[in-house]
């Protein structure tokens, strides 16, 4: 599998994401600066976390219009897999590749801790290494993770099985207490209609090695390798 990690001014998870990808892929991904207008031939484009452009205007809004994103959108239309984590998720919604928007957290606080996620859709290239309804522990670190979309669109993504992960407690119960940011229906990750694009607020790359205190994130990168290699 070949992959590229996009780097914006203010990205800060690009290296961790590259390390996690390399661990599963066996080779390092390309790192592509936001001013580039073309991408190497890759199977996966990963948009990392951070604070691209200082979160000016809205999180992800400026990055979504940077030069490289026109090419990312073209590749997405051609069916290339795309993964957006945290700020990367915000960028993908602002670029129109995923529905909805990530608003300021419900309690206005930056939330930085491990959360539990229930795997809602094993049936995607991102999750096949997990079991249905498996509960995984993954960290979040964000101020704008409160997922919102209008009622009709919510109905559509629910009925099409495009909610990939929900925030839950340790036992897998989806509850208001387990919701770290006020996201609608505890939604933590969303798939595109093509199921080739995933955006999620939690950071699987931050728990992808036992030495970091957990390995639950690795399944996502292993899934991608098994699907795309």
């Amino acid at each position: 599998m070949k992959a590229a990690v996009i780097v914006f001014p203010g990205s800060n998870c690009d290296r961790d994401l590259a390390v996690a990808l390399q661990q599963s892929m066996g080779r390092p991904p390309h790192r592509v600066w936001h001013r580039e207008t073309s991408l190497p031939d890759v199977d996966l484009i990963a948009v990392p976390g951070g604070f691209s452009y200082g979160d000016y205007l809205r999180s992800g809004a400026m990055a979504a219009h940077s030069p490289i994103m026109a090419e990312v959108v073209r590749r997405a239309e051609a069916g290339v897999a795309i993964l957006g984590i945290c700020n990367g998720f915000q960028v993908l919604t602002e670029a129109g590749l995923l529905p909805g928007v990530l608003m300021r957290n419900r309690d206005l606080r930056f939330v930085c801790r491990d959360v539990h996620l229930r795997v809602e859709q094993r049936d995607s290239i991102f999750c096949r290494s997990y079991a249905d309804n498996q509960v995984i522990r993954i960290p979040v670190a964000h101020h704008d993770g409160n997922y919102f979309l209008n009622g009709e669109d919510l109905k559509r993504i629910e009925s099409e099985g495009r909610v990939a992960f929900r925030y839950c407690d340790e036992d897998g119960t989806v509850s208001e207490e387990a919701n770290p940011n006020g996201s609608l229906k505890n939604i933590a990750g969303v798939l595109s209609a093509s199921r080739r694009i995933l955006g999620l607020m939690p950071h699987p790359e931050r728990l992808s090695d036992p030495v970091l205190g957990g390995n639950d994130g690795r399944g996502m990168f292993d899934s991608l390798v098994s699907a795309l290699a």
């Binding site: 809004a61 219009h65 928007v101 608003m103 300021r104 957290n105 206005l108 006020g182």
Partner: protein
Amino acid sequence: MKALVHITLKQGVLDPQGKAIANAFSNLGFEGVKDVRQGKYIELDLSDRDPTAASADVKEMCERLLANTVIEDYRVEIVDSN
């Protein structure tokens, strides 16, 4: 000429920042504030042109960048700089 752009949250979209401001008013002893909605105000300095065309341009800027129309409404006002 100038374009004055007001961006506000759509009705029905929760505004926790507005709520926090409303709470602060009550802590400060101001009474009778029933609700607060926070938005953005953006001022554009434009080269002179037909106001109708300018308004159309700025509306497109709102659609493509300044507002996220999933949650936000916008209002554009074109005024003479003088």
